[in-house]
Assembly symmetry: C4
Homo-oligomer: 217 residues x 4
């Protein structure tokens, strides 16, 4: 484990708290802004149920995209939460990497809106999937930096680190593989994203000893 360095902020410091609060704020805003992408249709206000139902029916994929993206960002927030609870301190490098990571979280409402509007278009699926793959990739970069710079509460046994890295890498693989699939069927590609859920549950069972302790302390 690396020695205590200058410009490092411990878990209990005001500065650590600010990075966490700032990240939480950004996550919360990105998740709430997703709804702005669903535009109320402009039809004459005749009070006719059928007409409004038709107009709102076209927003179906926007609503689906909203909930998918809310779940995706929510999952990253939970992982971010677990990662930061395992940190002993943060350094300027991690603050910078965290900002790069958050930039893509903040960007996600745009691919979500594109996907919601052009659900049938393989390009929308590809842009969305690549953005998510980049976020998962950056999650791995954060873990790697914390591991190497000795910022974690306990030095990670190599097998636990590999398990964590694999957990971050799996969405990269699933989402990138969905890109060619989107050219066959966009619906199939979007459905394939849900494979990350059973995968995550499976990985949780194969969790090596020490991984659980590390996160909950």
């Amino acid at each position: 484990m690396a020695p205590k360095r200058a410009n490092a902020f411990s878990h209990d410091s005001v500065e650590f708290g600010r990075v966490v609060a700032f990240s939480d704020g950004l996550f919360a805003i990105a998740m709430t802004l997703l709804v702005v992408g669903i535009t109320v249709p402009a039809i004459p206000d005749t009070g006719d149920v059928g007409e409004l139902a038709d107009a709102l029916g076209e927003l179906q994929s926007n609503v689906i995209s909203f909930f998918i993206s809310f779940a995706v960002i929510g999952r990253y927030w939970v992982a971010h939460h677990a990662f930061f609870s395992g940190l002993r301190e943060i350094d300027r490098g991690l603050i910078g990497l965290n900002l790069v990571y958050l930039a893509f979280i903040a960007f996600l409402p745009f691919p979500t809106a594109v996907l919601g509007t052009y659900f049938e278009n393989p390009l929308s699926v590809a842009i969305y999937a690549c953005t998510v793959a980049v976020i998962s990739g950056l999650e791995l970069v954060l873990l790697r930096h914390a591991h190497r710079a000795g910022l974690l509460r306990r030095a990670l046994p190599e097998e636990v680190y590999r398990w964590g890295a694999q957990l971050s890498l799996s969405p990269v693989v699933v989402f990138l593989l969905s890109v060619p699939l989107a050219f066959v069927s966009t619906t199939l590609a979007v459905c394939s994203w849900f494979l990350t859920i059973p995968y995550g549950m499976l990985a949780n069972r194969r969790k090596p000893e020490g991984a659980d302790e590390l996160l909950s302390n």
Copy 2:
């Protein structure tokens, strides 16, 4: 009461604080975003008061919807606040359920905008009412999970739990009953929502012993 479990975060931990701060942030944003649904009318800027008054007059139902939704989300925030102040610790299950609950809070600005724009349409009322019913239902799911998993500060006497469950269920009933009413009169249906206020006050009087203590400690 269940024993202390791994992956549970106590009331004073940084992790508990993050969940609370994240929820508060999301509530605050959802409430503030409601205003984005009120679009400034585009008329020629002649400085004529009558013309602008006419144009803004059409936004009347948007403004009403804004204040209704602000009150609705505000009420859920107060309940969320009271619920979390009664928790001894949170587990991963509760964090996940809380996210599902927050997804519908974050979604509410959309039904609000639809209701504001198509106030006369029974479908707008129905969509809004169903969203609120789902949120109240999820409130009950959160309470039930906390009760069963032993996350509450004090084990709830069965009658207090039932009283709390009934308090969460009552808006579900009121809002679902307003859906058929909307096909008679949308104004009447929206007015019926205010029945939850006297109901809540009535329920507060019938509060069983121990319920008050539980929330204020």
Copy 3:
């Protein structure tokens, strides 16, 4: 001073902190959302400086409105900050009143956008001025509730309370008086709002003994 009551949360409790954090979040979002009211003009992208300057020139009043509203909400945030730092505890009544107050803070981006778009129209000025008058009125209601319910750190001497009440009332007077003025000249009416600044400085000099202590402790 009233005795400690059930359902009251002291200054150091997690619950007090949540109300403060939630309010701060809402203030911050309302202030930042003001910028959404300034729409980028849609002109052909020829790279011509004169054309873009003309198009952006029409947004002049939008930009002025942004900075006025930012200053207005910022001033309320500072007052909210000072008020809450003088509270010993909060009760459910104050939480509810605070939500009503925040509803109008959250609403302000709409009158701001109307004022920015129809700056020459007396109605825009009137709507904006009335909203601000309501907020200042609610500020007084909050102070009165805290005074009567004994929520303040120190019981306020009657003269200090009156001084504080007058400080909250003065914007109500200035903004309401600007409404008839707007029918003469909207620019003059908007300029009259700045009278609250020297008034506030004057009031600060006439501050009765004990007022300062009360806020800074």
Copy 4:
């Protein structure tokens, strides 16, 4: 160092925490709102990849502007973070100046959207560059106020203060110099902004003794 004054809030007070939390919230929202400036193109939903690619291709400069502004605001957030961690206490003057500074942070999404839409226009670049220059100038005003009012943890040696002032001033110079450059080539002007990065790294090496300690304690 100035004596402890009335209306000053120490680093550990709830009030100091609120200013920090409010600032963090505003930064996070301003950064996330940048994405709202990227509008989803409206083309017929034929599922044709080429058409959507063309439509999205026109948003290229919007996406670039998003990431530039995210990096710009992120850099200011890191500096704000370091500045506040070096403060012993804050006074009303600093709270006011901080609000003026935050007003321009909150304004930045507008110049960003203008730049994204009219990337080829020297005026867009000029407006953006001037806004950033104002923010860096205000950063200097904040440092100067804290230095003169004795709000810093340790009285700054004159050379450390000058070094900090120079660090804040350098973006002012770079961004203002990019304005005339924009009339030659807007791309070149935008690229010149990146000169602040090697400049900052260079300045960090020439950091006088005591500067580092000051920030990390």
